[in-house]
């Protein structure tokens, strides 16, 4: 399926055409012809099974797979990904495995590494560190040894490492996989706040379907290196044949229940939603209108 949307060209911050990539020595393509446009300020969720190509797409968008090694074209912030391209400063990537990313001995050193490399003012960097640590619930950890952090703390530090760069485009590869439910919510809240305050563009690989359905403008589904489906959460989870099967990627539970009610002919398709609050409101109205439910209630 085609990920290209009809919007004015200057509103497109990420443009991917016919992207093909195969890891050296691999038997098949990791990415097999991806087309994708991401609008300025858009929040795009990326989902799909293991091995679908999600992480590889993130690496390509960040320019970590050098031009010449992939087929097709990628442009980010109107600059093509090519040797010497400077666009990378406008984007930041949070890796799937935080240990790939964390290099400082202490939390503060680790956070300073990125902005120092961009030659930001040292005093400003020092002042910014506590602010971003607070955003990821690591206040007071400046002097902590990074190797002593728990898996969840490392994941949050990796996010702070990206946030302190104040990127225009934030690419996150499963940033909440090791976080507890509240920790997941907090990461989503941080990302949402950054979008609101600075209208950054977000591409986020994530299995947490419930949070994604609340936040994402659009979810794209990768499978076997191809973009196989996409849409706003309410449409995707209603129409896609890729969800609501036992082995399928997880869909929000509200969408599972409403999907089954639609399929059973008990509610109409226009009652469907993938969002929790909207779903609860709709179920409440439906139940209050039902004679059987009133009997239960009395």
């Amino acid at each position: 399926m085609d990920g290209v949307t009809a919007v004015p060209a200057d509103d497109i911050v990420i443009r991917v055409r016919d992207l093909q990539f195969r890891y050296p020595g691999a038997a098949r393509d990791a990415l097999a012809g991806i087309n994708l446009d991401v609008r300025r300020g858009e929040f795009v969720g990326v989902t799909g099974p293991s091995g679908a190509g999600k992480s590889t797409l993130c690496l390509c968008l960040k320019g970590l797979i050098p031009a010449g090694m992939f087929g097709g074209t990628i442009s980010v912030a109107a600059q093509p990904v090519a040797p010497g391209s400077a666009y990378v400063e406008s984007s930041a990537l949070v890796f799937q495995n935080p240990e790939t990313q964390i290099i400082g001995l202490t939390v503060a050193e680790d956070m300073a590494f990125g902005p120092e490399n961009l030659r930001r003012d040292p005093a400003e960097i020092r002042a910014a560190i506590p602010r971003y640590l607070e955003q990821v619930r690591l206040s007071g950890y400046q002097d902590a040894d990074t190797y002593r952090l728990s898996g969840g703390q490392k994941q949050r530090l990796a996010i702070a490492d990206a946030l302190i760069l104040e990127p225009r485009i934030l690419i996150l590869d499963e940033p909440t996989s090791e976080l507890d439910p509240i920790g997941k919510d907090e990461v989503f809240e941080v990302v949402e706040r950054l979008r609101r305050e600075r209208s950054i563009t977000v591409v986020m690989v994530e299995h947490a379907a419930e949070q994604l359905a609340e936040m994402a403008d659009r979810i794209i589904v990768l499978d076997d290196g191809a973009l196989v489906d996409q849409g706003p959460p309410d449409e995707l989870y209603r129409n896609s044949r890729l969800f609501h099967r036992p082995d399928a990627e997880r869909a929000p539970q509200i969408s599972e229940v409403l999907f089954q009610l639609v399929e059973a002919g008990l509610i109409s398709a226009d009652q469907f939603t993938a969002r929790e609050e909207t779903g609860i409101e709709r179920l409440r109205s439906l139940l209050m209108a039902s004679p059987s439910a009133v009997v239960q209630h009395v």
Binding site: D247, R250, Q253, L261, L287, M288, S290, S292, H297
Partner: protein
Amino acid sequence: MSDGQAAIQISDLVFRYVPGGPEVLRGVNVRIEVGEFVALIGQNGAGKTTLAKHFNGLLKPSSGTVRVLGRDTRTAPVADLARTVGYVYQNPDHQIFAQRVRAEAAFGPRNLGLGPAEVDRRVDAALALVGLQDLADEFAFSLGRGQRQKLAVASVLAMEPPILVVDEPTTGLDQAGSRGILDLLSRWNADGRTIVAITHDMTLVAERVPRTIVVNDGRILADGATRQVLSDTALLRTAYLRPPQATRIAQRLSDLGVAADTLTVTELFTQVSRLLGAPGADTARHGASEANGRTV
């Protein structure tokens, strides 16, 4: 259930990583019976992994006792504990070190002093259980994350321990991978083995695990039937956790006749169907709840 030997019996466990340092576990009492399947939940840093590492003697109590099938972990030989309690680490790459899949899975049983025929039998069985039999001769690090996770589980299963501890077994796995691991643990448990799973995945706990223990700030905050624990929203909030979405929805609709301790999508769908007047829907909730209705 309190007669006979517990799989794991923990009394007044206090633990400090450094003598005189802060207490990471602050007076834990838990009894897990042989054949139980228990989830350990809690926020990052609550002490779940520290507690679980006491189950196989990897950590020893600063005070209090930990008994595994009756034996005190401070005096039991490490080799005996390793035979009794299998431990699958959170990150499979912390565990996998052999080049080939088969060699990785064979390391544990060979270390138990088993003969080559028995090692082969166990390795074949364990790899088949996790669905890696066709990849036995592959390089371990050429596997994807989900497959490496399965290999880490298989390597421990091959030791055929009566007690299995798995730390975040589904982290980083897709839905098919997560369900595959849970199916495996359920089958292993159905054979009478004791399983303790540390997890953040409330949905999988709700669907699969009969008993849930909440660890918070080095203490046991709650310990009981999963249905009771996961539907106690106020208690979970104390531990920075929250019920599965199906439970949250059910609780917001409880004044309209939806049970506040609903745990799964199937249960919620069945109740809403009945309330909306679907014919023949009224018996299904009972059926759906049985999987989780086991009391502790």
